[in-house]
Each structure stands twice: as C-alpha cells, then as structure tokens.
Symmetry: C2
Subunit: 506 residues, 2 copies
C-alpha cells in the first residue's frame, strides 16, 4: 500500500492532492473552480481548537478527552439529540428501552471505563432460564450454559456449528485488527462472500440456514453481502489487547457482547458527556462542507460555521463521503466511502405488563430461521421481576427480512412480530401494551445500522484510508476501530484514538 503515506507530507507542502490527482487535468480544473467559489459562512461563526462532526459515542468521547487536555472543542450534530446509533426510548415512569446499541460485555474495556468514569452503572442482561430456537416448524429450548453458548445445540447442526465457528475463529487469528488488508490471505478472502465460503465449507442445509440468523442482527446483512475478509476482521476485532477475538463473543449473552446493560439506558453515557459539554454541542447542524487550508479548518453546517485548527469527522464512512471537502480528498478516501455501505437493520420492541416468560423458565432470548425477527432479548428494566413489570422483548429484523418487513403495512408488521413472539414465549406475547419500531435505514443521519460494511475487495484496495488523517482532518466512528468495530466500545476507542492524534498536533 504505497498510497498509505503520501498524503500528509504533501499537505504540509501546500497541496492535499496525491501525485496522481495533482497531475490530473480533471482535478486541476476542479481545484481552479473551487478557488473561485469561496463558500460563505452560514449563520454565526465560532472558533475552537477542534471541531468535531457527530455527537455519537465517538465524537463525544473525543470531545471529552480533548477538553480534559485543556483544549477547546465544538461538536456539530445533525440530529436534535446526541448518541448517534444509541438512543433511549422513554416509556414513562423511569422505564427506558433502547432503540439502538444496548449491551456491553467482556473485553469492551473502553466503554466500561467511560461508563465508570461517568458513574453510569451496569446490570446483568436477564439470562436465567432457557433460550428458544425455532427452526421452521420445530421449537426447542436450550440452556446457553452449554458448549455452543447462544447457538442452538440442534443435533442436526451442532457439530457443524462448532466446527465452522472454530474454523472462522482460527482463520481470524491471522487478521491484524489494525490492518486486516495485510493478512497473508487477504486477497483470497476478499474474493469470497461469507455465503460462498460457508457453502464451500459445510454440508448441512440446516446449518447453512443458521448463518443468516447470525449475520442479520450482527451486521444487518445477508451472508452474500459480506466479504469473508471483513467477517474475519470483525471476529478478530471482538476482543482486546489481551484476549483474542471470537465469533461467539458477538452472539453470546453469557460471557459475550450481550452480557450486561446500562442503568438508565445506554444513551445515558452520551447524555452525560453532552451535559458536561453544554453549549459546545450544537444540535440540528449537519455539516455540509469542510474547507482546509494551511492554517486551519472551516466547517460549514446548516446552523453555524466553525473555524478550528483540526477536525475530527466521527460519522460512518458512507455519510462522511457526502460532505464536500475543499480541497478534494485523495481519491482513495472517496472511493473507500463509496464502498462502505450501512447495514440494513430494524429494531422492534413489545412492552408487556409483566415479563411473563420468566415464570415459564424462559430468559426472553429466542432465535428463528424464519422472520421477520431473527433474534430477541429481554430488555425489561433492572427493577423487573416475574411479578413486577413492565416486561420488554426487543427483536432484530435485519438483511432481507428488514427489506421485506418495510414493505408490509403497520398492522401486518405488528401482527408478524407478535405472532413470532407467541411462538417463542406463548400466547401472552400477543397482549402487548405497546409496540414500537426503529427503522435505522430510514434514518437520515444513520442511513443504516449497526455498522458500515465494505464491499468485497474494498478493504484490500482502500483499507488504510479508513483511519489515516488527511491534512487536518482526522477520522473516528466505530467503523474506524481496531477492537469492537461496529459496537459502542469501538466508537469509544475511535474517539480516544482520534483525540490522541489531534492532541499530538495541537
């Protein structure tokens, strides 16, 4: 990857263009045009050492760290709220359900440390009793204390599940989390979709039917939409500096990424940071244009223009690609953002008077090879018990199911979800007191969830450009993280890393 190191030095010399772009008549023409059309500041002009685009977990963490180091920040956020893909839904009476990112688990140290510093406490995800597995017409229950964890110990699939997960885990160990494109098999693995690799490396259609059941909640995607290299990177990423990542840690509750929840809801972390930042966070101000020159950055939003020494763009690559940059970014960065689409995920939740499934010996976790819901969790408040409500079950609708679900009427959608819940937990599941849905793909400022997904070949072609600063612009967001990419912990890590980069330059 010779392109890797060219940009920064060039910028210092006064141009951001790569050698190639500088020589290109097309680029030269564009640069000339840009010089003529100087953008005018929008609304008021504010100044800070660092302007941060996006008040999700990444941007807010970066802002907190930079301010702690004694420098000034302004965070520009498109939405009228902070938290990004993490969003509390207030059910009244102090009860919160999470519309987006919810859980925290082992090796997610940076998220835990941040929550601890802010005084946000965790509690165990309800995990007493059996999981439900629905395979077409058959329902079975099982304990997640077995060797397969949250994966079903179906006799027709168990051996292959264990073998394939072990093989993926083993392969992932050769993928460097900070540079997956440098894996020795990277080119070969980029030629496979996960779907194709699974079909080459397993025999049972029953097992193969389980794979999308994992990818729909974890990636918001079908196996055919995932590069094998990216999948292996994601597995490697599900750990930390001390503990190798594993695929199981992605889908397990006990000992995995769904092990714990935050008191007050996960968005509380973002709300706490934002409260301390006060007017340094500007809501409702999408950034449309970022201009950088030898002395600084100007970020133009719909509401305010910010002049700063450095910028951190803390939004997903697909959205970062929609900002106009002057001068143009190197083409490699732009082509990366063209190849990094947001997953397709809808979260649904039903609220009940009581968590009735608990008395029946069920933990509220179910998986279904059918749809629309692929996996459920007990999202009841920490105060809930078999006799005290409310009880909440949320479900993930992802990939093809998210697409067909969106085409249904509101009534049919609710009936389909509650019908599945009744299959899992009994007919009491039909008596929901409320039902709500969060269509992350229809959200203007996420355009999909839970994570950005590179097309086959994209990591190999442009991976280094995910994170490499370009002049005075630094990149954050969970998609740029080495560990726990795609999770809240990855967002926090990326915020910390980008803050370190910027602090080294101020």
């Amino acid at each position: 990857m010779k392109e890797h190191s060219i940009t920064r030095r060039r910028f210092v010399a006064g141009t951001l263009a790569t050698g190639a772009a500088a020589a290109a008549p097309a680029a030269a023409e564009a640069a000339k045009r840009k010089r003529k059309h100087k953008p005018r500041p929008t609304g008021s002009v504010r100044r800070a050492d660092v302007v941060i685009v996006g008040a999700g977990f990444a941007g807010l963490t970066a802002a907190r760290d930079i301010r702690s180091a004694g420098h000034s920040v302004i965070v520009l956020e498109s939405r009228k709220r902070v938290g990004g893909r993490v969003w509390n839904h207030d059910l009244g009476g102090g009860v919160i359900s999470e519309r987006g990112g919810t859980f925290v688990g082992p090796t997610q140290d940076r998220l835990m440390a941040l929550a601890g510093a802010l005084g946000v406490k965790t509690f165990d995800t309800y995990d007493t009793g059996d999981n439900v597995y629905y395979n077409g017409s058959n329902r079975m229950t099982f304990s997640d204390t077995g060797p397969l964890g949250s994966a079903p110990p179906d006799p027709t699939t168990a051996a292959e599940t264990a073998a394939v997960v072990a093989q993926l885990d083993q392969m992932s160990q050769s993928v460097p989390v900070d540079a997956p494109w440098e894996a020795s098999s990277a080119a070969n693995w980029e030629s496979y979709t996960l779907d194709r690799w699974v079909k080459e490396n397993s025999a049972s259609p029953n097992f193969q039917a389980l794979v999308p059941l994992a990818t729909r909640p974890i990636f918001g995607a079908e196996p055919r939409e995932l590069s094998l290299l990216f999948t292996l990177f994601y597995i490697a990423s599900s750990g930390n500096e001390q503990h190798q990542g594993t695929f199981e840690r992605n889908f397990d509750t006990r000992g995995g990424a769904q092990q714990s929840r935050f008191v007050g809801g996960s968005q509380t972390i973002a709300l706490q940071i934002a409260a301390r930042l006060g007017s340094r966070v500007v809501l409702g101000s999408p950034v449309r244009r970022i201009v950088q020159g030898p002395r600084g950055i100007t970020a133009h939003s719909d509401k305010v223009t910010v002049k700063a020494k450095r910028a951190i763009v803390a939004i997903p690559p697909a959205l970062a690609g929609r900002i106009s940059y002057e001068p143009l970014l190197p083409f490699q960065r732009d082509q990366l953002t063209q190849r990094y689409s947001q997953g397709t995920l809808t979260k649904v939740a039903a609220v009940y008077d009581r968590p009735f499934w608990r008395a029946a010996g069920l933990n509220g976790q179910a998986i279904d090879t059918g749809g629309p819901v692929s996996a459920t969790f007990d999202d009841s408040p920490p105060t809930a018990s078999a006799s005290r409500g409310p009880g909440i079950i949320f479900g993930f609708v992802g990939g093809d199911y998210a697409r067909s679900y969106a085409a249904m009427s509101a009534g049919a959608r609710k009936a389909a979800v509650l019908g599945q819940y009744a299959k899992f937990f009994g007919s009491d599941a039909l008596k929901a007191t409320s039902f709500f849905e969060t269509f992350w793909s229809a959200d203007e400022w996420s355009r999909g969830c839970p994570v950005g997904i590179p097309a086959t070949g994209a990591l190999l072609a442009y991976g280094p450009w995910l994170r490499q600063p370009i002049g005075r612009i630094h990149w954050a967001g969970t998609e740029t993280s080495d560990y726990w990419n795609g999770y809240m912990d990855g967002a926090v890590r990326s915020g910390e890393r980008s803050a370190r980069e910027v602090l080294g330059e101020l």
Copy 2:
C-alpha cells in the same frame, strides 16, 4: 420485490415515505425538522417544465427529446463542460484524443441514431494488422480475425478462454436485462464474486490471469470486486432487442464495442446537443438539494435555483446519493446508492509523430497481464496513415493497477507506460511527443469510471430502485440502462427512456 410499487401511489397521496418510513419515529422526526428549515433559493430562480441534473449523454439526450416534444428544460451541470465521462482532448490542428468514452459498435443503435441525427460521422477504429499479447515475459502477436476475436489465442489458455466465455454467455441468457434480480439463479449468483466463480470453473493459472485483464478496462475493477450476477447482467446488456448480449462484444474491436469512432471525437455529440440547447444548459452549477412537493420540484444548485414540474437526475447512483432530498427518498433508494461504487480507471495516452506501429504490421492493440496498462488502442485521427501523423496510443489502467499507478511519481508513471508501449510496439514508442493522463477516480463529478458497480447482493436487495421514479424524480444515466449499461449507448437509452417517462406525465 413488494417495495417496487409502493412509492408512487403514496406520493400522490401527499407523502413520499414508504409505509415503513412513515411509521418510523426517526423518519418522522427528520420530516418535522425539514419542515422548519426551508431552504432558501440560491442565486437566481428559473422555471422550466423539467429540470435535468447532469449534462452527460443521458441528461442531454433527455433534454433534447423533451424539448423536441415542445416542453421546456433546464440542465444543471456541475462541470464547466458538457459530456460527463466523455471528454475530448484537443491536441491542436484539429486532432482530438478521447479522455473518456470513445467507441461505438454493433447493436449500439441508439447512440448511432443520435449521432446520425446530429450529423456526427463515424470511422473504423484502426484494426489492420496484428494484436500484441504480453504474458509476463512472452510477447506474441495474433490476428483478431480468429475465433477468439481480441482475446489471445495463447495455446495455454485458448481452450479455457473459449469455454469460460461460452459458459458466461450461456448463463447470461437467463438474466433479464430490465430486471437482473429476477433471474432464477440471482441469489446464488449474488453470492459469488466473479473471481470466485472463475476459480471454481477453470483450472489454468494462465487463463485466470487473463480475467482481470478484461475486467480492468471494462469495469475499472478486479474480479473480486464484481458480483457474478452483475457481470452476467453486463454481458446480457451488451446487445439490443434483436441480438443477445455477449461478453466478446465488450472486449472485441472487430464486430464489438470498439469497432468505430466518431469524427471530431465522441464528445462532439454532447457539444452539438448543448449548442442547440444554448442557455438552457447551466455549467458550473452542482445541484446540492432537491425539494419536491405536491405541485413541483425545486432544484438548488450553487449557481441557480430551478422550479419545475419534474426532475431527471442523470448522474451515477453514487453521486445521486450525495444530493439532499426533501422529503427523504425511500430508504431502499438510498441504500442502493450506498452499494453502487464507481470503478477505478485511469486513461493514459502517448502521442507520436507517426503511427509507426502500422508499418510494422501492428494495429496498435495490445493486452498485457502485467501493468500498469492492461489494454491499448490506436486513437490516431482518421486522417492518420503510416506516413502521416500524429499517431496516438491510449491505454487503460484499471483496478489494482490504477491504485498502484496513482502512488507513483509523474516521471515513473510516464516511464512505466512508455516502457510497456515499447515492449508492445518497439523502441520508437519511447519517443512520445506528448503524454497525458486522465484520472477519472480523482474527478469530483465522476468519482470513478467507466461505470457504477453494485456490491454483492445489492442488485437482489435494491435493484428495482435504480430506475423507479420517486414522486416527481426520474433517474437516468448509463447505470440505469437495460442495454449497453456502462457505455455511451446505455446513457443515450436511459435519457430517451427517462424523457418518455416524463413526457407521459406532463
């Protein structure tokens, strides 16, 4: 694809949102915010029946047809020139070399008809004498009148080339050009990259090394970046209503897509249409925002605001996704644009006193499994002969080679290209009188060439949204064409089709 038909009816009823988006609190919040922030018109306000975004072959063809039918149009173009990915380079003295789309061939009827109507004449691409094939250290010459056409009749690869091309052609016959996602094997073919399929269906590494040599010029991509379904669609698309598409027609000169050229250069067609449209084409005015309401469209560009009854957005999906739409488009359309990246292609050209290769019995066409150039053509003016110059050889640098090429110094790039040309055509190739490069991926208003490429799974998930009108917005551009998708002919077809759609509504 139940999503296919929902939007239009909903829009008539006063909302553009899908059922899903309308029910989504996130979308509702966004809609509410939008109503408050009414965009102010930029610069002057003009009115027309139809506003067209993009003055490439698609947008200009649409404008011409709509105006011929007696309706008014305004075309907003980001660049200071028309033609899009088609661009003449004036070498002086009436000599033109093409920086972008160049050729026309059999079954490209709509481009031929348009050129004919405008009085733009064609001439044969120089194709007398032998082609050169360079395979690592071995050079061979061959005639393209053989059964493999422009593919090399290397004894180590010929049988497999013929068999694999025949198999791809046969498979492509079950792909409907107007709806490739409806092919009965679509889901299976979306699980394969072209690379994986080739490796499963061929044995010889020598043959496999030829495949990127085709995909780099044709798609600007490596085989690992291409969905098999999209590749088969592209093959099916390389024909017309009377003649089945074939892969050969993509890479052949004799009887294929490189058979003929336009007198005065291919951009002449765009320049002629634009001259007739006069001030109806506004250059240097990138459209940033399109607002549609029950009575019309408002398109906001940097230079002018246009109010119209209908809009045609005639730019690649990846660029169309960067415009802000109010109300938001259905999420399916947005996710499609996130999954449709522009290829990576650089075109290089060397100019010589004479087309010296002709006297040596060479036609100027060469292919090389090495790089940076994968394929060359004689781009000399129609007046050139063995004794009369200038002689021009252009070359395609695509996919991984375009990426590594961009990292080289200007001097190293020129030396590498001329060094290849010398291997192909002899040491006279080192004596270029000029050398120029066009980095399409670094071009702000193309962001890549020659065509948009859907990620694996994208056509199956969102294919219908490529072309389906959304309220008063219609879509054109070569990526939306059934036949000759990715070529100038596809652009013209898409312009004609979008004009018919709009005329049916005016």
